[in-house]
């Protein structure tokens, strides 16, 4: 094996076409005779849908097909199947699709969609979680009890789409000790839009009675099953192919627009394309949810955290979606990082009459880390302890228990904190320019979602290899850098001789989807397993030719050779040619599944993941200067120590860190989403939704920390997602340090910061959240405590 390809800054093979505009994303593609689709969307947030008359649309020029709820009566979802493709009897959010039209031109489709007659009767809209949880609030999903549960174990009722709890240890005793300080905090964050430059777009064609969907997705297999489910056809009748994707960041992790074109393609007999406009993406994206957090800790004067309880409300919008799964994450994020005595946690996904939210890079993690680190700094102030020292004393290390009772391996966080001190070096002196200066440290715990993956490696007659997976290239480089590097390393090839097949569910085996980091770990591991089979077959075939035992052979530089004997080797292509005549063409397949880390029994309820198979840690530091006259925050320096396990391509990882931190700066400082009383998102485009631009950029000083335990291939952890995790926290804590006032909200736009400085901001009180976790659970709290107490 050639080890020099791991850790190499291999360039991207797709850079040339991307730089010359030759790459054809789904948005650039056309099919002969293709029709264009437009959606008719609701213009109210909550209503009974009385009548939908599509006859006017069908009569309009160029219209070839119209679809409504009658064509797709089923429901899909993540934890629970609560989501119809079209509004059927009830409208639950502003912008909810009511019908889809396919026509010769997009203008004709839009005109026809506008001509559809829709009659509604308004219902009281619950636009905030407080409204939705108020006693006597109208249920957004009457009949929720009859929904099919797609994941077992969820607690649901009324407008609580999903609830996850953690009970560990004796909270009440800890909280009532007289040698503890009780510190509380209430936090609130807004939504964030992924704003990938390629919107959600898909083209569906019917071929030989099957629906072929070409789509900009992160999860081809989810699209396959989602389309089949909604069209009520067998999954084997659906094929999903994926070209280069122009950004995903999590939004494209679930099916969304594909079922519309699949339906219309079947109805019209022609290929159909749908591409959402930027306004549709802004107003109906499956964006990062807004959330409300209440956290309380009992801490001794020496900084030991004896108990921690928290309530987190997550706004899933009109349908549960990803958030049903994300209630699981709170235990690992908000209750992560630190050694805790007793723990009580309630994490609820709440239905509101707003556009459904979804997954966005470090979903749940970014705001939980914000709340946790702000809370941690408040604790430090309360007990008068240095913020770095407190962390050093409490960060989880080898053998420590996580919130759900999982035992962590390795001392990773404290050494990372120490490395940060070295990375920081000498801080520059602060000029006397009238600005307020602050600094912070923020620690975050994330994970790699190690769901099942498969890979096949074909060894070609010329000695090159083809890697076949359902992996998708979103931009992080996994499919064009780390994966071919891993295969090349395993097979002794140059990465240029490893062909990576674009995702096609007819060719590749099942995969759980691509989200930063997952690809390198799960697909890398499956690929490694596939390579092991290839190596075995190759060595068996070469053994005769080289007159050596298979276990004495090695692969390097495109050759099979005898270990320790430079003269005895031959090109792989020759061995393959020989194999063709004896055992047959050489290929291997491999699979990867979660190793299955264990939590303590009886702790976690309603969790889809009780323990983290592969945690990923991050330590961030941030220096800011705040203009007290305008509220502007300038980030002067930003430092990252990231737990990467093993960096397959360090330069690619550094690129992810730079990009992820800047995306986090957007979340922390600029990107504000507000929802009007009518349940409509007010920011319709990039004029009002402020993404970081070239002038806002801060060069990130990053160190890749290697060596932590990892089940990933070659010890890799996957690095693409986690860079955003702790940015909101780091910026918020630095601003709080600068202005000497508590920061409880994100984003910290200039008006919000100036309001904070002037004391004219409203304190976050979360009056609708009872302060005791017991009052916040659907289940019987005594039963939850008994479950923990009686654990086996």
């Amino acid at each position: 094996m050639s080890s020099s390809v791991i850790g190499r800054d291999l360039p991207r093979r797709d850079a040339g076409d991307k730089l010359t505009g030759r790459t054809r994303f789904t948005i650039d593609r056309q099919a002969p005779g293709m029709l264009h689709a437009a959606l008719r969307r609701s213009d109210v947030a909550a209503a009974t849908l009385l009548r939908v008359d599509v006859a006017p649309a069908l009569a309009m020029p160029g219209v070839r097909a119209v679809a409504t709820a009658a064509d797709a009566p089923g429901r899909y979802g993540v934890g629970v199947a609560d989501h119809p493709l079209f509004a059927a009897d009830v409208i639950r959010y502003h912008g909810e699709p009511i019908a889809a039209v396919a026509a010769d031109t997009i203008e004709q489709a839009e005109a026809a969609a506008a001509a559809i007659v829709v009659e509604t009767e308004p219902l009281e809209a619950h636009v905030t979680m407080a409204d939705a949880l108020a006693p006597g609030a109208r249920e957004l999903h009457p009949g929720w009890e009859r929904y099919e549960e797609l994941e077992p174990g969820g607690t649901r009722a009324g407008n609580v789409a999903w609830e996850a709890t953690v009970v560990r240890g004796d909270l009440d005793s800890a909280m009532t000790r007289d040698d503890v300080v009780i510190v509380e905090g209430a936090y609130a964050v807004g939504r964030q839009n992924q704003a990938s430059l390629e919107p959600r777009v898909a083209i569906a064609t019917v071929e030989d009675g099957r629906v072929v969907v070409e789509t900009s997705t992160q999860h081809p297999w989810a699209v396959r099953s989602g389309v089949a489910r909604l069209l009520d056809i067998s999954e084997s009748l659906v094929r999903v192919v994926v070209p280069a994707v122009g950004g995903g960041f999590g939004q494209k992790f679930e099916p969304s627009v594909e079922p519309f074109v699949a339906l219309l393609a079947r109805k019209s007999g022609s290929p159909v394309k749908i591409a959402l406009s930027r306004e549709e993406e802004m107003r109906t994206a499956l964006g990062r949810e807004n959330a409300e957090i209440f956290i309380r800790s009992a801490v001794t004067s020496s900084g030991e955290i004896l108990a921690r309880e928290a309530v987190v409300l997550m706004d899933c919008g009109a349908y549960g979606g990803e958030q049903t799964f994300l209630t699981t994450m709170t235990a690992h994020t908000l209750m992560g990082n630190y050694r805790l005595g007793a723990v009580r946690l309630v994490s609820r996904a709440v239905y509101t009459n707003t556009p459904p939210t979804g997954a966005f890079r470090c979903c749940n993690g970014v705001y939980c880390t914000f709340a946790l680190e702000r809370h941690t700094d408040e604790i430090c102030a309360a007990i008068d302890m240095d913020r770095w020292e407190f962390r050093r004393r409490n960060l989880i290390g080898d053998g420590d228990l996580g919130a759900t009772g999982q035992r962590f391996e390795g001392d990773v966080l404290v050494p990372m904190l120490d490395r940060m001190v070295q990375l920081r070096g000498e801080s520059p002196p602060r000029p006397d320019d009238g600005r307020l200066y602050g600094t912070s440290v923020a620690v975050g715990t994330w994970f790699v979602f190690v769901g099942p993956s498969s890979a096949t490696v074909n060894l070609n007659p010329d000695g090159s290899a083809t890697l076949i997976t359902a992996g998708v290239e979103l931009g992080s480089g996994s499919l064009v850098q780390s994966l071919p590097q891993i295969v090349a390393d395993q097979l002794g090839l140059d990465p240029a001789d490893v062909i990576v097949r674009a995702a096609d569910t007819d060719a590749a085996g099942f995969d759980s989807g691509v989200g930063g980091g997952r690809t390198t770990v799960s697909l890398g591991a499956a690929g490694t397993a596939a390579c092991a089979e290839v190596r075995r077959k190759l060595f068996d075939a070469a053994a005769d030719l080289l007159e050596a035992a298979p276990h004495d052979l090695e692969l390097a530089d495109g050759m099979v050779g005898v270990v320790g004997t430079p003269g005895r080797r031959m090109p792989i292509s020759e061995v393959v040619a020989h194999a063709h005549g004896t055992s047959g063409p050489i290929s291997g397949s491999g699979a990867f599944a979660a190793p299955g880390a264990e939590a303590m029994p009886g702790c976690a309820a309603g969790h889809m993941l009780e323990a983290l198979d592969l945690p990923v840690f991050a330590v961030h530091e941030c220096d800011v200067a705040v203009d007290p006259a305008t509220g502007h925050v300038e980030v002067l320096a930003y430092r990252v120590v990231q737990d990467v396990g093993r960096a397959i391509n360090p330069r690619a990882v550094e690129g992810q860190i730079q990009g992820g931190v800047v995306q986090g700066l957007g979340y922390a400082l600029h990107e504000e989403i507000t929802i009007g009383g009518d349940g409509r998102i007010r920011q319709a485009g990039f004029e009002t939704y402020r993404l970081p631009l070239a002038g806002d950029v801060v060069p990130v000083d990053a160190e890749l920390y290697e060596g932590a335990p990892s089940c990933g291939p070659l010890g890799a952890k996957g690095a693409g997602e986690v860079p955003i995790l702790a940015v909101g926290a780091a910026v918020a804590c630095a601003v709080a340090d600068a202005v000497k006032r508590p920061v409880s909200r994100l984003p910290l736009t200039p008006p919000h910061v100036l309001a904070l400085i002037l004391g004219r901001d409203d304190e976050v009180t979360h009056d609708h959240i009872p302060r005791s976790w017991r009052a916040n659970v659907l289940s019987d709290p005594d039963a939850l405590e008994a479950a923990f107490a009686s654990r086996g």
């Binding site: 800054d9 360039p11 991207r12 797709d14 850079a15 040339g16 076409d17 991307k18 730089l19 010359t20 505009g21 030759r22 790459t23 054809r24 994303f25 948005i27 650039d28 992924q194 704003a195 990938s196 430059l197 390629e198 919107p199 280069a244 994707v245 122009g246 950004g247 960041f249 406009s277 930027r278 979103l474 931009g475 992080s476 480089g477 330069r651 690619a652 690129g655 730079q658 990009g659 992820g660 931190v661 800047v662 995306q663 485009g685 990039f686 004029e687 993404l691 970081p692 631009l693 070239a694 002038g695 950029v697 060069p699 990130v700």
Partner: protein
């Protein structure tokens, strides 16, 4: 019929005068390098050069390019080669998803033609209308500065 110079070739298209240049390039001329990601002039992914100046093709009525010279990303270097700027960006591994890069390359090409040795603030100012969601910009800026320092630059393409 609207006649104009496109990537140094005389071209004519039959299009509605108020159709955007971006839609004409993408749908009629099969030049999909120019992207439309916002349709409002903020994201810069539709940036082309009109008489050597960056312009947002999504806001440009195609009738307004009559008699003028349009350059798109496809025309910067012939036969799938890379211009020095494109090579510099590839060399530092700046590209991620790739949707913004045609627009960024056009904005920077115009900058370098006007200002062969730009300062960091000048590069950032030139890019303020080009949104990139993936990379965090820094590597793009440093690639341009390195290229300018290297002084190796072909004129023209």
């Amino acid at each position: 019929m609207i006649e104009f110079r496109l990537n140094d070739r005389q071209t004519h298209v039959d299009a509605a005068p108020m159709a955007s240049l971006a839609s004409v390039l993408r749908e009629q001329l099969a030049l999909t390098g120019t992207k439309v990601a916002c349709g409002e002039g903020f994201c810069g992914s539709c940036t082309i050069l009109l008489d050597d100046q960056p312009a947002p093709a999504c806001l440009l009525p195609v009738a307004h390019v009559a008699g003028r010279a349009v350059r798109t990303v496809e025309g910067l270097a012939p036969n799938a080669r890379l211009s020095p700027l494109q090579q510099a960006l590839a060399d530092v591994d700046a590209v991620q998803c790739g949707m913004c890069f045609p627009g960024i390359v056009m904005s920077l090409t115009a900058l370098l033609e006007r200002t062969p040795r730009p300062t960091r603030p000048q590069v950032r100012d030139a890019l303020v209308g080009n949104i990139c969601r993936c990379t965090g910009y820094e590597r793009v800026v440093s690639a341009v500065l390195q290229l300018a320092d290297g002084g190796l630059r072909e004129t023209g393409e």
